[in-house]
């Protein structure tokens, strides 16, 4: 039994159709939900939470049909929305206890869970201060905490690293990875930051214009490119590039770094790269087979080209 089963789902947001015949099975694991703005990602999430009524098709979460069982589904799902939310005049503890109680916990249970979950997301003593004094990072943690407080088995995260500084981003992504891998929670991450998605998820589903464009494991989508390599040398770049061209390679600089993306002719051996470096009087500092980035896979699915597609 899949966690989420979507079959031929069509949803209209106002007058316009936002989802146009979407069929998707979501099993356990971490799924990235990708798509351009307006593709229907938030519509999909809202339908799964029971906010929107399907015009046709069906959605089942934990084998519960929507929107009839919306309340039952919301009981077991955690949602971390994109927009910055705060409850300025109260503390995080007070806010989370309220959320816990809205889930139906007793006051005592809610209190205990609040502190446990705040510990988990890393909010320390500041939890007793009013939320108007919190930084963006702290507010994001509180938002994550309110999505976890009732121990859901399914978690929706919409741009969870929004507004966080580099350290905060790393911490948040690590937390999410931990939740997905160690706690066995199915995580659905919606984000425009594809490297983040690559770091956290094992599968992706791409939406565009209300339909599923492509779906599959990240491993499969970012497979190695035939006979293409990334190579960077210490110095004498020009001489090296010339030698590569002589050997029959097509190359392309991955601006702004000095790494070259090289397509080698069929008969060229991999160690030729190192020989040519020696011949150019330099040393190879970076060499590996090139892989399609998730971004390239995404753009190709959309039918567009990126600035660093393969040569």
């Amino acid at each position: 039994m899949a966690l989420i089963e979507i079959d031929g789902l069509a949803v209209s947001y106002g007058r316009e159709p936002a989802l146009n015949g979407v069929s998707l099975r979501i099993d356990e694991g971490a799924l990235g939900l990708l798509g351009p703005n307006g593709a229907g990602k938030s519509t999909l999430i809202k339908t799964i939470l029971g906010f929107l009524r399907p015009a046709s098709g069906s959605v089942k979460v934990f084998d519960l049909p929507l929107p009839k069982s919306a309340l039952l589904v919301r009981q077991r799902v955690g949602y971390m929305p994109e927009r910055e939310s705060t409850s300025p005049k109260i503390s995080a503890v007070s806010f989370l206890t309220y959320c816990g109680r809205l889930f139906g916990m007793s006051m005592v249970d809610a209190m205990e869970r609040t502190h446990e979950v705040l510990n988990y997301v890393g909010l320390g003593e500041s939890r007793y201060r009013n939320m108007e004094t919190y930084s963006t990072g702290m507010l994001q943690r509180v938002k994550l905490a309110q999505a976890l407080i009732h121990d859901p088995k399914l978690l929706f995260l919409d741009e969870p690293t929004n507004g966080l500084d580099p350290d905060g981003r790393v911490e948040m992504l690590e937390l999410i990875r931990e939740i997905a891998s160690q706690r066995g929670v199915t995580v659905i991450l919606s984000s425009h930051l594809l490297p983040d998605v690559q770091h956290v998820c094992d599968r992706v589903a791409m939406l565009a214009k209300g339909r599923i464009l492509s779906e599959g494991s990240i491993e499969a989508l970012t497979g190695m490119l035939e006979r293409q390599y990334e190579v960077r040398v210490r110095d004498n770049d020009a001489a090296y590039a010339a030698l590569l061209e002589q050997a029959g390679c097509a190359q392309h600089r991955m601006a702004p770094s000095d790494t070259l993306l090289v397509r080698a002719p069929a008969e060229m051996r991999e160690d030729a790269f190192f020989e040519l470096a020696r011949a150019a009087g330099t040393q190879v500092r970076h060499f590996r087979p090139a892989r399609r980035s998730l971004e390239t896979a995404f753009m190709e699915a959309l039918g567009k080209e990126t600035s660093d597609a393969g040569v």
Binding site: Q75, R83, S87, K89, G104
Partner: protein, 291 residues
């Protein structure tokens, strides 16, 4: 001995949903109780309660006792007599502070939730829009009643206790029900109007000012109409006066300013309450169900 692990436990507890709207009420009260200005307002509301307390004691014990040295002095004080209209006056005079309390507590109730992007967080929990709405409305109504009906009933009880007689007990029952009804007529439409403004306007202060202006405008219009059309009855269009008129009717007091059958002001208030309820319901429902 378990070693510390960075994780949170599985939730083994129970999820029970009895009255979801009551949770909203509890939280609103909890938040209000921490605000200093609110405590000050409650204090302000208690002033009249204390004064009436003293008045009742003075009338029931001192004035009734002809041998008491103060009796003569006090009996000459205007308004010292405690009768049915005293409680009407009490509730009537509580109106300004009740209005301010409701405005203070309620102006931001819904618009702040919108502004702080809390709607998505609340409705992603098993909370329906009517739970939310009922909770907010109930908070304001309970607040309003607690500075009007509740102290009124308490004062009535005090009066009966100090001056016991079967006659008075029968009167007290009438006065109590009149107080309760008058308070409801006063509080419920006001609470719904505050919520309506809160749900329509983008900020707490805008909502408060708008409601204030609406009431002033409404009273002015009623006054203008009654002056230009030379008919006192048009004053009944004014919301505060309509409430007062109904109260006078409930307490059996002869109307001083204008005479009008009770169903006109009642219809006005009922219509106001209904329209405000529709407005809030629509706004809140759209937050849960955006389509």
């Amino acid at each position: 001995m378990p070693v510390y692990e960075h994780t949170y436990r599985n939730y083994e507890g129970v999820f029970r949903h009895r009255f979801r709207w009551w949770i909203v009420v509890e939280q609103e009260f909890r938040v209000l109780a921490r605000l200093r200005i609110f405590k000050f307002l409650v204090l302000l509301a208690s002033i009249q309660v204390l004064l009436r307390l003293v008045q009742i004691v003075a009338y029931d014990t001192i004035v009734q006792d002809p041998n008491h040295p103060m009796a003569a002095v006090l009996s000459r004080l205007e308004g010292i007599t405690v009768k049915s209209s005293t409680f009407f006056d009490f509730i009537n005079f509580q109106t300004p502070v009740m209005f301010i309390i409701l405005l203070y507590a309620g102006a931001g109730m819904i618009c702040n939730d919108f502004r702080n992007n809390l709607m998505e967080i609340y409705f992603s929990k098993p909370l329906r829009w009517h739970d939310y709405l009922l909770g907010k409305a109930a908070t304001l109504i309970l607040l309003g009643l607690s500075v009007t009906a509740l102290p009124a009933l308490f004062l009535i009880a005090e009066h009966v206790i100090l001056l016991p007689s079967w006659e008075l007990v029968r009167q007290a029952v009438d006065m109590a029900s009149a107080s309760l009804l008058f308070s409801l007529v006063l509080v419920v439409p006001t609470a719904l109007a505050v919520l309506a403004c809160s749900s329509l306007l983008p900020g707490q202060n805008y909502a408060a000012i708008t409601l204030f202006m609406l009431i002033i405008a409404n009273s002015s219009m009623a006054g203008l109409l009654s002056q230009s059309l030379r008919a006192r009855s048009y004053l009944g269009l004014s919301y505060p006066l309509a409430v007062m008129r109904l109260g006078q009717d409930l307490f059996g007091i002869r109307p001083a300013i204008f005479d009008m059958a009770w169903h006109w002001p009642f219809s006005l208030l009922a219509a106001t309450a209904f329209i405000c309820l529709l407005i809030v319901a629509r706004r809140v429902r759209r937050a849960e169900i955006p389509a």
